[in-house]
Amino acid sequence: MEQQKNNLVDYLITARRTKGMWVTALVVIFVIGVGVAFGLPPVYRSSATILIEQQEIPQELVRSTVTTYADQRIQVISQRVMTRANLVKIIKKYDLYIEEQEKDPLEVVLEEMRKDIEMKMVSAEVVDPRSGRPTMATIAFTLTYFSESPTLAQKVANELASLYLNENIMSRREQATEATGFLTDEADKLRDKIADLERLLAVFKEKNVNQLPELTQLNMQLLDRSDTQLLEVERQLRSIDERKIYLNSQLAQLSPNNTQYTETGERILSSMDRLKSLQAKYVSISAIYSQDHPDLIKLNKQIAALEQEVGEADDSRQLRVKKTHLETELALAVKTYGEEHPNVKKLNNSLAKINEVQKNVPDTIDESVSKQSKPDNPAYIRMLGDLEAADAEYRSLLQKQEELLAMKQDYEARLTNAPQVEREYRSLSRDYESAVMKYREINAKQMQAQLAEVLELERKGERFTLIEPPQLPEEPVRPNRLAVVFLGGVFSLVGGAGSIVVSHSMDQTIRGATGIQSLLGSAPLSVIPNMRNDEERGRTRRRLWWVLLSLCVLVCAAIAIFHWLVMPIDVLWYAGLRRLGI
């Protein structure tokens, strides 16, 4: 306590010692404060309040494609509005910041302008209908512009408000149109894809027309039927076979030709029979006679004629005849000469040769007989006809069997391929179906988006409404001159006190008995008070009077100079009152 008091006394002593300094500091700071208070230009503000209105048509009916939150959108719009181009346009339009433009680069001026624009959200506590919890929702926002001129403040605030409104409409429309465009594009793409798939499907179906999975049942039936048919055909074939055998056997028993009889009732031999009998006769005679025997020659001639008649001059017959000859000769020679005789050998060789030749020549005796002989036996002919019919039928049945077999193979192939085809088909049709589904979906969305676009275009969606246009401000909001004066006063006091403290702390002189005590370790022997004689007292008083007088004169002079050189005092007085807001 004592220490504090001493400190205070010390400060007071210092204050008295350095009164010139701190009084100057105090006065100078206060004067500066007052100067600033009255020198600062007035700043007016003008605000527009813009309400964020919910969309008119219920969300359940038409859902907007603009789904961002209002405050977020406002921020986005702010960024768009506060672009250099927009601000420069406004600056040019209203000739703002002329002084600043002269000394600062454009960027700095724009920054200045951004500082003068203020956007504030107005929030309200609402209950979220979905969660039921109270949340803060932005319901409106205010746009404020600060300016040194009230009219400019109002105009620029107006301009800004309309910029915000337009930007909102534009951005919403843009967003809605973009959504629709996107969906349309997607739908088109899908449509193309579906067409492609359809074409592929058609080609596939065409290629695998009989193997499609839906035909499996039918193919199975067809296979069954062909099987049955095949069995039937086989059975028929078998019966025809039997019939043919029977007919053949019948036919074998019949002579193709009718036995002809002369008037005498003697049977006329047919050329064939005659030929045969002649040939038999030839063989028997040639064994008896040499070849030059007239009987033999005659026989030969007869045979040749008959052969010509019968038409059996072909090789096989000759070969057969020759072979018969040779065999006959061989048998004779063996009997006559024995096995080792050269003639026998020679005959053997010839026979072998003939055999060889005969092997190569088909034995057509039967056909030639049936062909060449012109049967006239009606029974034979009928039998032959039957046989031929059976043959024809047989052949047709065979053909049918072949056909049936081919069909069966075809059906079997179809059934074997079916799973593979099915797989491909399924994958194709799945793609197709999903594409179609997606297309439908997108189509529905597109319709919705189009609806939403209409909503935005007709301004039925969420929108900004200017509910309070900017007013012409009557009073400046800044600066609070009284406060600045007061602050100047406070600062001047602080400055004065600070100067005292500083000079006290800078003071190197010794102070009081305690100072000596602390410096030297021993107190002074005595403390002699400052004596003042009458003259000094009088001088102090006189000086005080002089100071007061000169101060008065100075103030009067300053006022007078101000009055005549700057502005009349009464004008200043009223101006001051006005600025103070009185």
Binding site: I510, A513, L520, P524, L525, V527
Partner: protein
């Protein structure tokens, strides 16, 4: 504490003396000094000073400001105690710089001492560069210490009594340049010895020039037995004090006095 009490007691007694005696002497200011006063002053000129002048010069001779007188008396008492402790009888009043009230302190201390009936005080102005004690008493001396040193003028020609009992002043009258040499000269030593030993129970007070402004005080310091440092409140800096004390290392500084204490 006991000592302070005693000092206060003594001071009070002294004040009674001061209040009775000097007032009567004031009244007889123009009267020639009576033979009863002191045999020692028979050959000393008495030059009474005008009371107004003394008051103006802040000399406590006829001052009524109690606190100031008490302060000087306390100083006197303590100084005397310290001197008598060691059997000293000379004291140099020193200060670091000009204008710290050294001369006034010397005068007032001398007056205060002279008021003690068993003491006589000789105040010597050795500030040869700016002698000023005589001026305080409103007296312009014909000769000064320098005249004694250089011209061998006898001391009795220059000693004077300013109308205060048991106080004799040896003034200086003109400034000299080689003051330091004079102060450290052998003659000065002889003078000092003579002054000190002429009368028993006499206190010799030397008013020396500022220590930090010239070599004078330092040169003279070895001649005195004790020194008193005058410090002006709020004027003398701490470094000046420590410098001064460092210079006076070989001299016995009996103490300090804080002068011009602000209220």
């Amino acid at each position: 504490m006991e000592r302070i009490k005693q000092a206060l007691e003594r001071a009070r007694k002294q004040r009674d003396v001061v209040e009775s005696a000097p007032i009567s002497s004031d009244r007889t200011v123009t009267a020639p000094p009576s033979a009863v006063q002191s045999v020692a002053y028979t050959n000393t000129r008495v030059v009474p000073s005008a009371p107004g002048l003394l008051r103006k010069n802040k000399i406590i001779a006829n001052c009524v400001d109690e606190t100031t007188i008490t302060a000087y008396n306390m100083l006197r008492t303590q100084v005397l105690q310290r001197l008598s402790e060691h059997g000293w009888n000379s004291l140099a009043i020193i200060s670091a710089n000009h204008g710290e009230g050294r001369t006034l302190t010397a005068i007032n201390l001398a007056i205060s001492m002279a008021r003690e009936v068993d003491k006589t005080v000789l105040l010597v102005d050795l500030d040869l560069r700016r002698p000023g004690i005589a001026n305080y008493f409103g007296f312009t001396p014909e000769y000064g210490v320098v005249d004694y040193m250089l011209n061998d003028i006898p001391l009795k020609e220059m000693l004077f009594n300013p109308g205060i009992e048991r106080l004799v002043v040896l003034p200086g009258n003109c400034a000299v340049s080689n003051s330091a040499e004079l102060l450290s000269s052998k003659k000065m030593l002889q003078l000092v010895e003579e002054l000190k030993q002429r009368y028993p129970s006499r206190i010799v007070i030397f008013d020396l020039p500022p220590l930090l402004s010239a070599a004078d005080a330092l040169a003279f310091a070895p001649h005195v037995e004790a020194a008193l440092l005058v410090i002006a409140d709020g004027q003398t800096t701490k470094s000046d004090i420590t410098d001064t004390l460092a210079m006076l290392e070989i001299t016995n500084v009996v103490g300090t006095v804080l002068n011009r204490k602000m209220a």
